[in-house]
Symmetry: C2
Subunit: 757 residues, 2 copies
Amino acid sequence: MSEYAMTSKIIDKAIPRIDALEKVTGHAVYTSDIDLPNMLYGKILRSPYPHARIKKIRTERAERLPGVKAVVIGREFPYLFGETLKDKPALAIDKVRYVGEPVAAVAAVDERVAEEALSLIEVEYEPLPYVLDPIEAMNRDAPILHEGLAEYKRSPIVKVFPGTNICNYVVYEKGDIEKGFAESDYIFEDTFKAPAIAHAAIEPYVTIAQVNFDGRITLWTTNDSPYRLQVGLAESLNIDPSNIHVIVPYMGGSFGGKGGVKLEAIAIALARKVVGYPVKIELTREEVFTSTCTSHSSIVTVKTGVKKDGTIVARYVKAIYDAGAYAEKGPTVLIQGCRGAAGPYRIPHVKIEGYLSYTNKIPGDAYRGYGFFQTQFAVESQMDDIARKLGLDPLEFRLKNLIKEGDINPLGQEVVSCGLEKCLLKVAESIGWGRKEGKYVGKGIAIGFKNTKTPSSSAVIVRLNWDASLEVYTSLVEEGQGSKHILAKIAANELGIPLNKVKVITSDTDITPWDTSTTSSRTVFHQGNALIDACRKVIEQIKDRLAEKFNIQRSEIMFKDGEFIIGKDRISLHRDINRVLRTGEQIVGHGFYEPKISAKLWEHHGIFWMYVAHGVEVEVDPETGIVVVKKAVIAQDVGKAMDKATLELQLIGGTIQGIGNTLYEELKFDKYGKIENPNFRDYHIPTALDISEVIPIIVEQPHPEGPYGAKGVGEGPLVTIHAAIANAIYDAIGVRFKEFPITPEKIALTIKNMRIS
Amino acid sequence: MSEYAMTSKIIDKAIPRIDALEKVTGHAVYTSDIDLPNMLYGKILRSPYPHARIKKIRTERAERLPGVKAVVIGREFPYLFGETLKDKPALAIDKVRYVGEPVAAVAAVDERVAEEALSLIEVEYEPLPYVLDPIEAMNRDAPILHEGLAEYKRSPIVKVFPGTNICNYVVYEKGDIEKGFAESDYIFEDTFKAPAIAHAAIEPYVTIAQVNFDGRITLWTTNDSPYRLQVGLAESLNIDPSNIHVIVPYMGGSFGGKGGVKLEAIAIALARKVVGYPVKIELTREEVFTSTCTSHSSIVTVKTGVKKDGTIVARYVKAIYDAGAYAEKGPTVLIQGCRGAAGPYRIPHVKIEGYLSYTNKIPGDAYRGYGFFQTQFAVESQMDDIARKLGLDPLEFRLKNLIKEGDINPLGQEVVSCGLEKCLLKVAESIGWGRKEGKYVGKGIAIGFKNTKTPSSSAVIVRLNWDASLEVYTSLVEEGQGSKHILAKIAANELGIPLNKVKVITSDTDITPWDTSTTSSRTVFHQGNALIDACRKVIEQIKDRLAEKFNIQRSEIMFKDGEFIIGKDRISLHRDINRVLRTGEQIVGHGFYEPKISAKLWEHHGIFWMYVAHGVEVEVDPETGIVVVKKAVIAQDVGKAMDKATLELQLIGGTIQGIGNTLYEELKFDKYGKIENPNFRDYHIPTALDISEVIPIIVEQPHPEGPYGAKGVGEGPLVTIHAAIANAIYDAIGVRFKEFPITPEKIALTIKNMRIS
């Protein structure tokens, strides 16, 4: 490491993002912008029933409509998709399982014709009993969504109970939970609920599929993980991964929703019927809301045993996550959510149980924080209650129990790179913790953590050209988070070249190398490491050439701050590369990174954990119930700030998203499980008018394996804000809300009832 | 080499070309097929004068036309382009130099509007004296085309004479030419002419240029050399090469015409005025004929001294090539043509002089064979005459003097890998040399050679995926010649994987590595070597992994026929790669090749020479003058046949092209230098109806440095056919034509005059 020590001059510099100009001018290309010659347009017919058998589908009239090039139904494309549990057809085959499920699809010369063709498809349904509540769905007499559950292909980490709707069960234990409760002075038990939330990315789902004459599939698509999509499709379609070419242009937000196999499967089903022609499907906003995925609604019960002095002795958590009609990433969202369910505390006795249950609704799926915000909301709301009931200051209570460097976390992993205490203290200071600001004004704090999926791997290829320009080839998906910019900075920093000499080429599986996914806050950590490896391989090759040129030993050459040092001579890579490379000569480095952690430990471990604290000050209008977040502070331990502006925007953005979750957002289902508010008029996300001050605080506790010490960032800001707001509302009006969104109606009604009683 | 010895099973197999299916079904993408969002369309205003000063250009009316987005004139884009002599503006600046020269360009929302806008541009010209004949142009009192010749940037290999129209002069000498003539028994001197020929590629010139906000230029274009274009533009525009991104889709033929900087400069000039918007220019067929380039018309005088016994003692050649109005590749075409001007013979005393002269006509440029066919036509026509005058059989006369392995060629290079004699003997046998087939039926033979540009370099990157599929990244341009297929075969052969596992990704400077050019018959030789290097680097990396996995020495592992051999174990790369690589793991190899030949020798040498012989049998109708080529045989020494079918098509195609050159093709200029036959009705290229039997014979004299012994192929078939036909016509009717095309009119008139006289 020492030989390569860089001053990280570029890393610490405020430089406009490399994608800024093309984005603000509207010239960045998104999937929706892509027009291909002879392109056809796809539309999807959807189920009006929450659960029904498909008796017959007649497509002849649709097929005869001029301009229609293909109609496809589920029986013609009998493949099942899913990441760890393959349960989802592209188009319903024997039955439909939620209102909005795709049943048939049409490709036509334009969208209008395709839309018209949908109305000509006749489907005969036989309605079936259905279930919308995940607890009811676990009853023995509940309607069963997946009779074939036992036969579905699944990963060994998924435990299903055939004959029920339970499509994953997980249990984590540490210590002896019964002993722990027996040793406790007090035991608290509360149940908390979170609703289904829409990802609400501004860009809808768009896929273009083209099937070549040799069967090879090309996809241009809104998906956060080109290679995982490639591998997932290959598994389901039973073809070689290399027969699927995935291209992901810029993406307008994902927040977890644009992973797995979504529109891609339907687009392929159509494209296979019109070989050679690209088929584009772009969902309407209503379709995005009603037929893609949501966060997992949840019921989380937390039972905590504490000593009188405030020492936490035992914690049992039971988490029930509503899968909706198909598993999607639910099984691993449950696993991850449960891994965080005890909160970031030193607790000797822990037991966590999680259930994932099918219901006849739109599927739940990954959502920023991957199952953590549901459990952190529960734990951190209860922590406040416990403190108050014990007569302790919630801040002191947390400080007393939180994990620090070298501790063992609730799952048994040693804590490494943990700035949690610092985060909490900074937040408390920033919001003036303990100072009462007025009647109906309250303050709340909450802390949390989130690990990254482990293990996972990334490769990056770099190409240094003879004019000292550099291409970085990476399969990261730039969806607004800024990783593309940060990789460019790392490359510039490693080689000592100006940032404007670096081009980052992203996400085309024919060109850019393997990367597991742009999820789990993993990109800068994993790809950053792979990129540094790639850059150093370039440097080593240049050293070989210099050694040959000057007839010296390789070991006589040092590289530092962009310069090769040979005795008293200094050769700048940037300025003098043409002394080494002739016109046309390029040096290629292929870097790879995978955490150096033993497979045995993966189950309970993450190669890094993000630590975060939120503090908020709210004012509640007791008449209208309207909550104003007057100030929100977030402090997050990021290991090393790789780009301060980008980082702060992540912290602010996540906080605002969480404010929306907590106060406004909820997908409302009618009695058939149909979403009643599928648009931005009826589904309210925060606008600039809703938001007051949000203060980001960066804490840097370097990670020993991170690039320059950096850890991931993206999901951290969304795991603690919900509880912080609920705690502040409690502080303001003395009411504990155990369910969000905490809407004005609920608050006003509660206050009214309190006054009456 | 031995360790890697492959059985070349795939190389010798007849397998359909990997690009066959997409081409025959019309799904291969050419530049013309590309539509981009917000694309504008460009049209070009052209000079009606052969030589005139531009006094004023008024563009206001054009600019005001609704739908017009940009109008550009030469003064706004004052850069000069050219490969070794930068003399050509994108749009004429101070004066125009030929009829058809671009003067202004318009970008508009569609082609119709752009066309209309052209009619609104007013240009005031002051006509100047002009010159069309290259010999007249070299006179002291000739109108001077380029007053600034001395100031143009040029390569040191170009010798210009400021104040004249001579834009290159070259002289090669070996031995003592005066002594040689003095020692000769007979001296023959003849002058031969070749016309300007159209490249006649079926695809016209198309360029799309887009300038990004940071000034970076992206080009999708019909150009044979993406990197040379990048470097050439960068030199002229004075920007970094990496700020120019060149993409070349499939190309529908080039034959040398689609190199250098053509439409690209004009498209950039427009695109810089509409930053962010792609501008597409697609030439009409008439524009292709009148304003791009042609072959060099030439006047070649050959003076040969021989002994009575037929030993050639001395040869002096003076070649005058007509540059047209701009140099384009003329300076190096002259150099190459002169390098071959003495023919493939052992001659002790040689002197060659070449002149390149500007005239007020469309520029001459590279044309398949790069200046060789003009000199080979001259030498091989005269060889026949000399033989007959000495009473020798033309075959015997050639066999007596031709170069063989180990000889010294006319330029002083030792002859390596030369199957010339075998080619000649096979051709003679195939056409039944010496057997008279009837009155007005004649036979002709000719031999020739062509070197490849030396030095030049190629890189290839390969990526082996965990499913044993392979990407080959190469900057070759697939213009119909089949190199893409041959590279795929080489990769499959090296790694022992099926051909359908290999994808070849071509010509995108952001992705594919450096390659000098897809010209000079160099691709299979140079890129083939680079590809083999890249594949072997992959194998070495797999060996590293195997050595680590099995805890053995790397040297204990052999790779042969697609299998790693470890003791008695055999691990197939194709079937067992997943024992080495996990999901997502890829291995990248970067290969490079540059001839191992000393710089001192470059001037007179080629790393390889192609050797070729043609034999034809013609029948002449003495009344109409119509010549029917009853049979044409070509034998070419290719080193090693890399794909028999592709190779035979190259030999047949080049022969047919040469038949067209010799019998039909000629661009006709009116007295203003305007082309009178700018379309396929008036400019006749051979059709299927014109062609009888063409027999390709492959001779394999392995080249020590070639991939599996292979040499290049593409230009060989066009250097000897012209003389073979002329010799056959002489054999049929006893008339020596020293100028082609040898049209029915010329023959009929000549026969008529003979009868009269």
